[in-house]
């Protein structure tokens, strides 16, 4: 230490800097050590999955005393259905198992680090604004294959497989490249919502054809009420959903299949263009320009105040608005009307799907427990309990029998029944979040009059092409 300064003042800035750099070098191994931990994947952790012996009462071979961690998204449906209905059912079947319940409003914030460190919870309700991208979860092999669950005997009737107790399309809705990974549990019907009371008072009737629809909108406009609108600030996908539903009606369900499969020119199909053109006109004539700056809650409130007549959404709307809906409002669903007489699907056709996703983590300690939890959810008791708590129908066919739904859900269930076999769904938004974002942006541009239908389909197609070429994005087909 010959060059040590004699006085503190002689410790020049240069030497100080030099020493700091030296300290930095010393710290480097620490950094790389830290660097290793945040992204260390689960490949080095080889947790052995718990397994028990299979029997008639335990067809999935759950280890009876293995603990089970359940994470519920505490959103529109709350968490009560899990703590009061599903968890007790599991506990009843496996009294020795301990259930660790957790609820959150930010699934990704809470769980992403758990996946990154290879210690995910068994059962997750992945939903809400901050859900973890399903496509990424599948691509990284984090999700348990649910085939075994769907093929297992159901709780109520051992001679019936679980897959036969649910609404057709449920397994497909949660499948990626043909393999089921996600359980979508809540039956969801999409359409255009209106107040039964407002329509009755004014003598308006839901429209089936396009000319009826525009006549209806004109009638509403003449009363000084905004005829149609959605929230541009954060819920533009409610509207692309309408445009694509319309496209499916015009050109058949293959239109949507092509879009989901990223086929070349899928967005430029005639049906999509025609639908976009039709809605571009609606946007120009009947939508309040200020809605682009409003959030969905604001716009939904305006409908409750009878300032807005028609609003596109799914049938969670009624439950979501329960607090703000005035007495006698009476939510009603109207399917998207047909465009012309030569549409491939009838006016009654609807987009319906199973919503609210649940999955079992493949790399958790007790994945079989997670599967069994799902089997219990899909029992009649589990489904009935859910419907009673949250007033929404599940995918379990026998689950909502005899339950008196509020008017909105009753009307959407009636629409679903009326649609018969003309029920379709689309998947690209869950598979490719980027395409969803682009479709939302383009929808706002279209509906608020900044671009034409041609530019609308062109720009989304461009993004779809880019995603197709992007090797870092996992691809899915159906």
């Amino acid at each position: 230490m010959s060059n040590t300064p004699e006085t503190p003042a002689a410790l020049s800035r240069r030497t100080l800097l030099g020493r700091t750099a030296a300290a930095g070098l010393l710290a480097t191994p620490v950094v790389s050590l830290l660097g290793a931990c945040a992204t260390s994947g689960s490949d080095e952790t080889t947790t052995k999955a718990e397994e028990g012996t299979k029997s008639a009462a335990n067809p999935l071979g759950v280890a009876e005393d293995a603990p089970l961690e359940v994470v519920i998204f505490n959103g529109g449906y709350g968490e009560k259905y899990a703590t009061d209905v599903h968890e007790p059912l599991y506990k009843k079947a496996f009294p020795k198992a301990e259930i660790k319940h957790q609820s959150t409003q930010a699934v990704s914030t809470v769980l992403q680090p758990r996946f990154a460190s290879g210690n995910p919870p068994e059962f997750v309700n992945n939903s809400g604004e901050k859900l973890i991208d399903f496509g990424s979860l599948v691509a990284d092999g984090q999700l348990m294959d649910l085939t075994e669950l769907w093929d297992a005997p159901s709780v109520d009737d051992p001679n019936k497989k679980v897959r036969d107790t649910v609404v057709p399309g449920t397994v497909e809705a949660g499948s990626f490249n043909g393999k089921p990974y996600v359980l979508y549990y809540v039956s969801t019907v999409f359409g255009i919502w209106y107040s039964g009371k407002l329509f009755k008072e004014n003598g308006w009737a839901p429209a089936k054809t396009w000319s009826e629809f525009t006549a209806l909108l004109d009638g509403i406009k003449s009363k000084g009420i905004t005829p149609y609108g959605y929230a541009g600030a954060n819920a533009a996908y409610y509207q692309w959903n309408v445009i694509l539903t319309h496209a499916a009606k015009i050109g058949g369900t293959d239109v949507l299949k092509n879009i989901d499969n990223l086929e070349d020119g899928a967005w430029q199909q005639d049906a999509v263009k025609q639908a976009a053109q039709a809605w571009e006109e609606i946007g120009a004539k009947y939508v309040d320009k200020s809605f682009e700056g409003l959030k969905h809650t604001d716009v939904q409130l305006r409908q409750n105040q009878y300032k807005l007549a028609l609003y596109p959404s799914g049938d969670w709307l009624e439950g979501e608005q329960k607090k703000d809906t005035p007495a006698g409002f009476e939510y009603q669903l109207m399917p998207v009307p047909s465009l012309t007489g030569s549409d491939k699907l009838p006016a009654t056709a609807v987009r319906a799907t199973a919503g609210e996703g649940y999955f079992v983590s493949a790399k958790s300690k007790n994945p079989r427990g997670g599967l069994e939890y799902m089997r219990q959810m899909l029992s009649v008791a589990g489904a009935k309990g859910f419907t009673e708590v949250v007033k929404a129908p599940t995918v379990v066919t026998a689950g909502s029998a005899g339950f008196a739904f509020p008017p909105g859900v009753a009307s959407s269930q009636a629409a679903l029944a009326a649609a018969g076999k003309d029920v379709f769904n689309l998947y690209f938004d869950g598979w490719y979040k980027e395409l969803d974002t682009e479709a939302r942006t383009a929808t706002n541009e279209l509906m608020f009059g900044r671009i034409k239908a041609d530019a609308f389909v062109e720009r989304i197609q461009k993004r779809a092409d880019a995603i197709k070429k992007d090797s870092s994005v996992a691809k899915f087909t159906r």
Partner: protein, 302 residues
């Protein structure tokens, strides 16, 4: 006194340096590492080299965000400093002389407190507040008045060429108070005799400002410029909460931090988002170095 000095110094430095390394240096280093991978935030990442950076070059949204930072970088410091200087001048030396001592305008003590209010509020609250101010219908603060007067509402955050300026206005509103206080402190340290002498030579208020206040405040201005420039590279919270479709309409208000957030937490493209973060890191660094170099100038001793 030399005996035991190093253990003493090291003892003091150990905790802060460790904290700094763990919470600042390490994440930075890791961002560089992750930006070279295709990490999705779940399983182990795969090395992809410079792919993410190559992709950045063709990403229209990225360049749009960079361009917005350019606008912010010019507009935010210029407007904020101009307004703050004007107010600080009025508050400190803009009024009459009392006993040879220059005073601020009447009620300057009150204004000083009022100007500082926005600084006390959390950014998220400011954003929510301005949602109400800018709301495009009759319940908005500005548009409510306009519509009462029979005028058409102004679609602040919706019209693409107005949206970014509406955001900048909020950023300026929020920042001005702090810089008024900063410049006030700087002005207070300018000796009164200089003003007195200048006044005796017949300098007007405007001349006082440009010939006396401004040159003697140069160092403070330089600091303000760097701070505001760095703020211009952020703007995340205001844009994320206030803008339509976070960064919209059609990317008209987007900034890099918003794109980083979207790519990482919505698209699960942590690798690509990190590459954007690294780009932002170098942009900020370049800016700070350039500013310090360009504004280097002899400071006046007094």
């Amino acid at each position: 006194m030399r005996h035991g000095k190093y253990p003493f110094v090291i003892g003091f430095l150990f905790a802060p340096v460790t904290l700094y390394v763990v919470f600042v240096i390490a994440p930075y280093a890791q961002a560089f590492q992750i930006s070279m991978t295709n990490w999705r935030g779940l399983s182990a990442p795969q090395w992809v080299g410079f792919d993410n950076y190559r992709r950045l070059l063709d990403d229209g949204r990225f360049w749009q965000a960079v361009q917005h930072h350019g606008v912010l970088l010019l507009a935010l410091p210029l407007i904020t400093i101009a307004i703050a200087l004007f107010f600080a001048f009025l508050l400190n030396v803009g009024g009459r002389s009392v006993g040879g001592q220059r005073q601020g305008v009447r009620g300057s003590k009150f204004y000083r407190v009022v100007f500082f209010f926005p600084q006390v509020l959390a950014v998220a609250i400011i954003a929510v507040l301005f949602q109400m101010v800018y709301r495009p219908n009759e319940s908005g603060l500005i548009n409510g008045v306009l519509m009462k007067l029979g005028l058409d509402p102004v679609l602040f955050l919706i019209r693409p060429n107005l949206a970014l300026w509406s955001i900048i206005a909020v950023l300026v509103w929020q920042a001005v108070g702090f810089y008024v206080v900063l410049f006030s402190a700087g002005m207070a340290s300018i000796p009164g005799e200089i003003y007195e002498a200048a006044e005796m030579d017949g300098a007007s208020k405007v001349m006082l400002f440009f010939r006396v206040t401004l040159p003697l405040l140069w160092d403070t201005l330089q600091v303000a410029w760097v701070y505001l420039g760095i703020a211009a590279f952020d703007a995340f919270a205001i844009v994320a909460v206030l803008s339509v479709d976070s960064g919209g309409p059609d990317g008209a208000t987007t900034v890099l931090a918003v794109e980083i957030y979207r790519n990482a937490f919505v698209y699960s493209k942590y690798g690509y988002a990190s590459a954007m973060g690294v780009a932002l890191f170098f942009l900020t660094l370049t800016f700070a170095a350039l500013t310090l170099r360009l504004t280097k100038r002899e400071s006046v001793e007094y």
